[in-house]
Amino acid sequence: MTLALTLVSIVVAAILGLVTRNRWRIPLFLGSCALAVYAFQPVLPVRGLDFWLPTATLAITSLTWILTTPREQRSWRINWPGAAILAGIVLALGLTRYLGLSIYLTASRPPQTLQILVGLAAVTLVAIMMTRYTKPGKAVLTSAFVFIILLFIVLKVPLLATLVSMGLRSANHQSTSLALAQDLRWLGFSYIAFRLLHTIRDRQSGRLPVVSLSEYVVYVIFFPALTAGPIDRIERFVGDLRRPLTLTAEDLGEAGKRLVLGLFKKFAVADVLAMIALNAINALQVRSAGWAWVLLYAYAFQIYFDFSGYTDIAIGLGRLLGIKLPENFNAPYLKPNLTQFWNNWHMTLTQWFRAYFFNPVTRALRSGNKPLPVLVIIFVTQVATMVLIGLWHGVTLNFVVWGLWHGLGLFVHNRWSDMTRVRFALLSPRWKAVLNVGGVLLTFNFIALGWVFFALPDLSVSLHFIRVLLDLS
């Protein structure tokens, strides 16, 4: 997100926070979040796609709400304002093509109104059918889960994304030879998908609270957390949303502090580090091991300040709106081991994977007739979880290697910590402090080396860079 868009978001959040009466809070949040989905979406080369992807976000979110909501709670009487706001915004944005205002609200000129009306009619028809003929049973929810995963895979596998882009270009009479995976840059979908999957799984397990369409959509597309998280839990989020909004001086002070900190981290520190951070071009140009380490460290700090800066901004914006978003980072590079690093880096993502993959898989492996040995279970679950987290960033070999790097690292640390726990407990405080510092340095460098696979696009460039780092080239 650009600085200008971030500042606009702050102004919008401040106005909403200060003027919103409790009665109008949810409708106003819904409207502004829906508008933000369009405003934040980057321009795409496939004609009309930068309008249809945000529209698809709203449609998929609304349909998932239907599927995860018990039939008796899908009352039209309660939920029609939410549906009307969403449909109205889609239609109103479509009409901006005739007013010359679209550059402020949508990435490019919206498609023709007739196309939008047909699209809205199709979504409405599907919604009516789902409302009438489905209930949140196992088959329906599993289908929805699989659908979102498949959509995710299509977007994250470069080959599949390119094929889809070719199809869309062909349908639009655009050159298919220019198709790229980046043509399908769907803003925030990674986070939206995880929120949707969270609600589907919680409905399956019976833990999902009953929420209205408006509350559900605001939770999924809450604009402060749309582009870079954090991934909140719906029951906590809706609790804040339903609470009367009374902004105190403490709220404003905390919001201001987080916003200033976030803006500084993102636009002063991270963007400066980005100028010298490791990338696919300079990885092949750097001439000495010493400077290669400088580029790598610059990347390590750039990604941290960028990501945690966005999180601070999101938390600050949320605070202005009366929503206490969860923390996502807690000085992760100062942790003395990899396990603690992952407990403090992108915390809401790791908590998500822990809740919906690691714990269930561990339980499943332990509870069979012939349970696997504990060591094997730890190895399999840790490596598989980290590989999945890697794949969440993109389905490429480098992300798999990055996941393996961390999965194996976590396993080795697990074994090491098991073997040495008793011995370390007997050490003097001074020796413990020394080992702690050593642990921080070792952990940071392990993580930094892992970033090589994360930052660079393919394995050959990554291995070349590692050879330069180790002065082997």
């Binding site: 001086a249 403490e250 404003l252 002070g253 201001g256 400066v272 100028m275 010298i276 071009i281 300079n282 140009q285 750097v286 001439r287 000495s288 400077w291 290669a292 400088v294 580029l295 610059a298």
Partner: protein, 369 residues
């Protein structure tokens, strides 16, 4: 914490910022250009910072002459006693568009490892990619503090037209320096020329200087990648070769044949440069250019020059060199057409090698003090 406290924090912050902003107008933030990480933490640049595609070239254009020199390797400490210092000034051809630092005229002369007067010759590239003798004069005036033993000044007709003198951004944005030179040497340039940018009060505040300060900061940051990679410009694999076919237009800077108006050429600036050099010898080199063989090449030598204008200028400068006893090297046609790259004056590494060979010869003929 209460609302009054927050209001006070905001007001105090605003007042402090305004005071700091105004204070900056008194201390001239541009003077920060002399503070540089180059030659300390990073290797000094082998040519001046210049470039538009910073993310790929690890370089950028800025107008702060202090910062440009401070980032250059010539500013790396006092001149050693055993060094025979040669500076090369000129336009983009000297700076080395599409050439790596070691492939430029200065780079190739440096690599030759020459000795003169019992000292090692070290050659510094002080070229800058715009055509203006006034720009060269400004650079030369500044460079004299680095005690050159020899100045190689690479010139071409395009450096001479009066309307080229102040239009270059590096000149236009150094109005104080240029005006001082105009006054000192009574140059044939208007000190009140609209091309010169005269900063007002608000331009000297922190807010007004934000772009210049950001450029200074970016220059320091790109020192990392310059030192790490040795890259200071982009090297496209494919580029458009210099034009060799032309239309029949033979006007030159609004001048029509048959006579090149000498009063429109800045010979006075060139002479001022020679005065600045003083006792330091100067070799004036008429830089090689592409002699096209194509459509209407009987009218034009190349994209830059109609034949009538260039031929008359060559005669003029030759005559001035003879009467003034200048050390003048006319190398306008020594490079074959296939050794030019994307313009009529940009050479390939092989072309630069030919040029360097000729310049080295005359350099080694310099008498020792």
């Amino acid at each position: 914490m209460n609302f009054r406290f927050l209001r006070n924090v905001l007001l105090k912050g605003l007042v402090l910022f305004l005071l700091f902003d105004l204070a900056c107008s008194a201390v001239d933030p541009a003077a920060l250009g002399k503070v540089s990480l180059y030659n300390h933490l990073f290797a000094g640049r082998q040519r001046f910072p210049f470039g538009e595609d910073s993310s790929q070239s690890y370089n950028l254009s800025l107008f702060n002459l202090d910062a440009m020199f401070a980032s250059h390797v010539i500013a790396n400490g006092p001149k050693p006693a055993d060094e025979y210092r040669v500076i090369v000034i000129g336009d983009s051809s000297t700076w080395g568009t599409l050439l790596r630092p070691e492939e430029t005229l200065a780079g190739q002369m440096e690599a030759a490892g020459l000795f003169l007067c019992g000292k090692t010759i070290h050659v510094y590239n002080l070229g800058y990619p715009t055509s203006s003798l006034t720009k060269d004069l400004m650079v030369l005036d500044y460079a004299m503090r680095y005690q050159p033993d020899l100045i190689i000044w690479v010139i071409s007709l395009e450096d001479f037209p009066l309307d080229n003198q102040l239009s270059s951004p590096i000149v236009a944005n150094n109005a104080a320096r240029v005006n001082e030179l105009i006054a000192r040497y009574n140059l044939p340039l208007g000190p009140n020329a609209p091309a010169l940018v005269r900063p007002g009060f608000w331009d000297s505040t922190l807010i007004g200087q934000r772009r210049a300060l950001a450029d200074l900061f970016r220059l320091q940051i790109y020192g990392v990648l310059w030192t790490a990679t040795g890259i200071d410009q982009t090297y496209p694999v494919n580029y458009q070769r210099a034009q060799t076919d032309f239309n029949t237009d033979i006007t030159y800077h609004n001048m029509q044949p048959p006579t090149l108006d000498k009063s429109q050429l800045a010979f006075g600036v060139l002479e001022a440069g020679l005065r600045i050099a003083g006792a330091t010898p100067v070799i004036l080199v008429n830089e090689p250019m592409l002699i096209s063989v194509g459509e209407n090449s009987d009218l034009r030598y190349n994209f830059l020059y109609p034949r009538w204008a260039y031929d008359q200028w060559r005669e003029m400068i030759l005559a001035r060199a003879e009467t003034g006893g200048w050390n003048y090297l006319d190398l306008w046609n020594i490079i074959p057409a296939n050794e030019f790259t994307n313009s009529a004056i940009h050479l390939t590494p092989a072309g630069e090698s030919m040029l360097a060979g000729r310049v080295e010869q005359i350099t080694l003929q310099q008498s020792c003090p």
